[in-house]
């Protein structure tokens, strides 16, 4: 079984991100593999363990995004590919999907392409569906578990309303949710292997496509409005008195 896991590099969740002259800035905070994509890598490794085969990590980004791919290698991925090109500055989700689909085709296809449910930066959650569309593969989204048997992929989708069992013939595009299993920590051997890995970089010319023109474009990037209220700390002689004050305050807000 050949599994491609599509990952992205994003600022660490603890980072303080601000808008500076219309651009996002996260200061000295590290860039990391998108946390949701770690579950995608985990899901790919679990399938390899169950089925044998290989796991290829794929990422679009600048040269520094190799660090995110090295994390996937350290977790246990067999190989990694970075798609990087100066012309890819203003990709929207649809453009990213076209580039990923072209890279997946250049790899020679796969049985599964596994994504995290969304990224922490743009967070549109669109790319996985659009990659499925670009490849013409079925989409099995929000998978909490995956079973592959004789070319048939069955997933248990974890959705708001419950759990839905859905199947499709491989090749398929999947997105996974946390119940797939906690991402494993990179092993010492894995980290050593990853640090020595030479990650190939593919340009748009290698993929034989032009830079997709964005349909969705950002006009402005803004810091959130500052909350100008101070917290009113409620005190009183007894907990009963405090509770009564709080109830009165809440009822006066007319939010119940």
């Amino acid at each position: 079984m050949k599994i491609i896991t599509c990952i992205k590099q994003v600022p660490d969740s603890e980072a303080k991100v601000t808008a500076q002259n219309g651009q996002p800035s996260w200061g000295e905070a590290p860039l990391v593999i998108n946390p949701f994509d770690e579950y995608a890598v985990e899901a790919a490794l679990l399938q390899r363990e169950a089925q044998d085969g290989e796991v290829i990590a794929l990422c679009i980004g600048p040269d520094s995004a190799k660090d995110a791919l090295k994390h996937a290698l350290a977790m246990g991925a067999d190989s990694a590919i970075l798609v990087s090109d100066p012309a890819l500055g203003a990709l929207d989700s649809q453009g990213a999907a076209r580039v990923l689909a072209a890279a997946i085709q250049k790899i020679g296809g796969a049985d599964l392409a596994i994504f995290g449910r969304q990224t922490l930066d743009e967070g549109t959650g669109l790319t996985v569906s659009q990659t499925a569309r670009a490849l013409g593969w079925p989409l099995l989204s929000f998978a909490g578990s995956i079973k592959a048997e004789g070319g048939k992929i069955t997933v248990e989708r974890v959705i708001e309303e419950g759990k839905q069992t859905v199947s499709a013939a491989a090749p398929a595009v999947l997105s996974v949710v946390q119940s797939i299993g906690e991402p494993r920590y990179p092993s010492f051997m894995g980290i050593r292997k990853a640090s020595k890995a030479v990650i190939p970089v593919w340009t748009l010319a290698d993929l034989d496509i032009a830079a997709p023109a964005p349909v969705v474009t950002r006009a402005e990037l803004l810091n959130p409005p500052v909350r100008d209220q101070a917290c009113e700390m409620l005190t009183g002689e007894t907990p009963e008195a405090i509770a009564e004050t709080l109830v009165e305050k809440i009822l006066a807000e007319k939010v119940l």
Binding site: S13, V17, T18, P24, S93, Q94, L120, D121, E122, G123, T124, G125, L126, S129, Q130, A132, R133, A134, W137, P138, L139, L140, S141, F142, T154, E160, E161, G162, Q164, V166, A168, P214, V215, V216, T217, R218, A219, E220, L221, L222, N223, P224, R227, Q229, C231, E232, M233, L234, P239, E240, I242, A243, L246, V247, K249, I250, L251, E253, V255, L256
Partner: protein, 319 residues
């Protein structure tokens, strides 16, 4: 501007934010509500009552189960026939997929999880959170139709007028899909956090007795008509199922009232609840960051304070 509202539902049960999408669409003039599924007569009538001028339904047994490919292909065909300029949808797991695929088919784009919007001529300038809600961006879509998915509770819900009528047009479904639904197990409790007007959430503060702590939180939520939420710490510690998680890796909520109990207020939790209208925090630690987001704060042990607060609410609300 020719504008559509997409009514999202699960097996005929509408997602409430669909009506908010309908209300927004209506501000641009006449609006057609679009509904895909099976057995949609009742839902089509409700859409008229919430203000749709007409309803377009693809009502077909083949669409009884949601399958992204079939729903997207059907929507794409309807759009190709009628060429709307903009389609407003509630943001749900389903609409993200259907809009993404249909937009891809039509070489157009999707503005996702929109919290505010302006219109310049016929182009929508949409505000949406990025970087986990730490920043906002304003985005536009240069192609047509513009797909705009709205964050639940970011826009007002229109009033429902019983008996309001309008034309209901049936359209064909494109039922082919590469996926098949083999089974469904409904969730034990439907935790509809995104649409909740009141949320009471618990965190690590319940650690001494998680079952009792979330019991007390549930009691208070019941008294004030709220849904139960939780911090990631509480979910990671298995105090409560993931469906309740509020935050960057859980659900984003914007209730009128958010009560945070025993939650310290990690950044990843704050991004999930900071658009709440009124925030109340109860925490033992007076220095907890959650108080920076709160309008009212109480420094107290939740195990002693919650029963007292619940009793005080019951007394005032006559329950």
């Amino acid at each position: 501007m020719k504008t559509w509202a997409y009514i999202d539902h699960f097996q005929g049960e509408p997602v409430p934010a669909s009506w908010e999408a309908l209300g927004v669409a209506k501000t641009f003039g006449e609006v057609t509500a679009v509904i895909l599924g099976a057995g949609l007569d009742a839902l089509a009538q409700i859409a008229l009552e919430y203000g749709a001028d007409s309803v377009l339904v693809a009502d077909d047994p083949a669409l009884a189960d949601y399958r992204a490919e079939a729903f997207a292909a059907t929507l794409t065909a309807l759009i190709t026939d009628s060429a709307p300029q903009a389609i407003f949808l509630p943001t749900t797991t389903r609409t993200r997929e259907v809009a993404a695929m249909s937009a891809f088919d039509l070489a157009s784009g999707v503005l996702v999880d929109v919290t505010a919007l302006e219109a310049q001529d016929e182009t929508i300038l949409a505000t949406r959170p990025v970087y986990e809600g730490k920043l906002f961006e304003k985005v536009t879509c240069s192609a047509r139709p513009q797909f705009i998915t709205l964050r639940a509770r970011a826009f007002p819900k229109p009033a429902r007028q019983a008996g309001r009528s309008g034309a209901i047009t049936k359209a064909a479904a494109q039922a082919e899909s590469k996926t098949s639904v083999e089974g469904f197990t409904p969730a034990e409790t439907n935790v509809n956090l995104a649409d909740a007007g009141v949320v009471v959430s618990g965190g690590r503060g319940v650690a001494n007795d998680p079952a009792k702590g979330f019991g007390l939180i549930g009691d208070l939520a019941k008294t004030i008509g709220g849904a139960v939420g939780a911090s990631r710490a509480a979910v990671d510690a298995n105090y409560i199922p993931y469906a309740h998680q509020v935050g960057q890796t859980g659900k984003v909520v914007s209730p009128d009232l958010y009560v945070a109990v025993g939650i310290s207020g990690a950044v990843q939790h704050l991004v999930g609840m900071r658009s709440s209208k009124v925030v109340v925090a109860v925490n033992k630690d007076a220095e907890a960051p959650i108080f920076t987001q709160a309008r009212y704060g109480v420094v107290a042990d939740l195990f002693t304070f919650l029963p007292i607060l619940n009793a005080a609410f019951k007394k005032k609300l006559g329950k």
